[in-house]
């Protein structure tokens, strides 16, 4: 993984496979405390205590097509490499929260990367799932919630090209306003 956006794209697939209906992705850039926090919270079926202890092992996976599962271990490593920490919380039948904290200005922190297209790809390819993307840069905030968009567009699918163009525009404006430094 070259960028943090790649990690987000990857980890979110876990949430989708866990049957999540709502996935909240929040990015928090706190320059005063030199911290960058990425949190991915879903309402999928969660994991048992037993599984929770195994998921950070690169040789644990629920898939049968290969013998490794690198998504979470790679994100944990990326956070720790930048002097940060990694937290994983899960409750069976209620959901999972993945939280990675990075040193914002640490030399080894991966760049945030193309977060705009990452969110777009997530929405396009999981049109039955709702996404709430929140991004804070110190005192400036931006958020987009597909539940609100869905309410307005009624029977038009959320991944219709015109709707995606609108979402792309909203994210572009939001990011321009908060001027992310990551």
């Amino acid at each position: 993984m070259l960028t943090l956006a790649d990690h987000i794209l990857d980890i979110t697939e876990n949430s989708v496979r866990a049957g999540a209906k709502l996935i909240e992705i929040s990015i928090d850039e706190d320059s005063r405390n030199d911290l960058l926090t990425i949190e991915i919270k879903d309402n999928g079926h969660g994991m048992s205590r037993d599984v929770l202890q195994k998921v950070l092992d690169p040789f644990y996976t629920t898939k049968t097509v290969r013998r490794v599962g690198l998504g979470l271990p790679l994100l944990k490593d990326a956070a720790e490499r930048s002097g940060g920490t990694f937290l994983l919380e899960s409750q069976e039948n209620s959901g999972t929260t993945v939280k990675a904290i990075f040193g914002l200005r640490h030399l080894d922190r991966q760049p945030l990367g193309d977060i705009q297209n990452t969110i777009i790809i997530l929405i396009i390819s999981n049109s039955e799932v709702d996404f709430f993307y929140k991004h804070r840069h110190n005192d400036r905030r931006f958020g987009i919630d597909t539940r609100e968009i869905r309410k307005e567009i009624e029977d038009i699918p959320i991944n219709h090209p015109e709707i995606i163009k609108y979402i792309r525009g909203v994210i572009e404006e939001g990011l321009r306003e908060i001027e992310p430094e990551a």
Binding site: M1, L2, D114, E154, I156
Partner: protein
Amino acid sequence: MAKLTIDDLKKIKEKVHKEMSLRDGDRRVNVTVHMGTCGIASGAKEVMDTLLEEIEAAGVHDVVATTSGCMGLCSREPLVTVEALNQDPIKYEYVNPNKMRQIFKKHVLAGEIQTPFVLAKGSETIK
């Protein structure tokens, strides 16, 4: 540029509704970009970005882009499956943005399979 608001969304809704009644929204081709950890790490996101740009530039409405997870052939990623209506799916291996553009223009739009990039024909079976 003026700020995008919910009102803009309402206008889009009306416009799309008018267009929808004019044509049937048949899916002619399904293009799947495999996006597991392995795919993303080897550049599947750039491939997907390119695919979405090409679809928008071509203005086609019967091509659907989607993603899937890892199918166990991590060493050949990025993988892209093109499935045209009533035809066997074609899997392309080691795809990059340039190959994606060629696959889109030649295979998706014109129906010519790009043999040099093909990994296999057919669907994968999951044990």
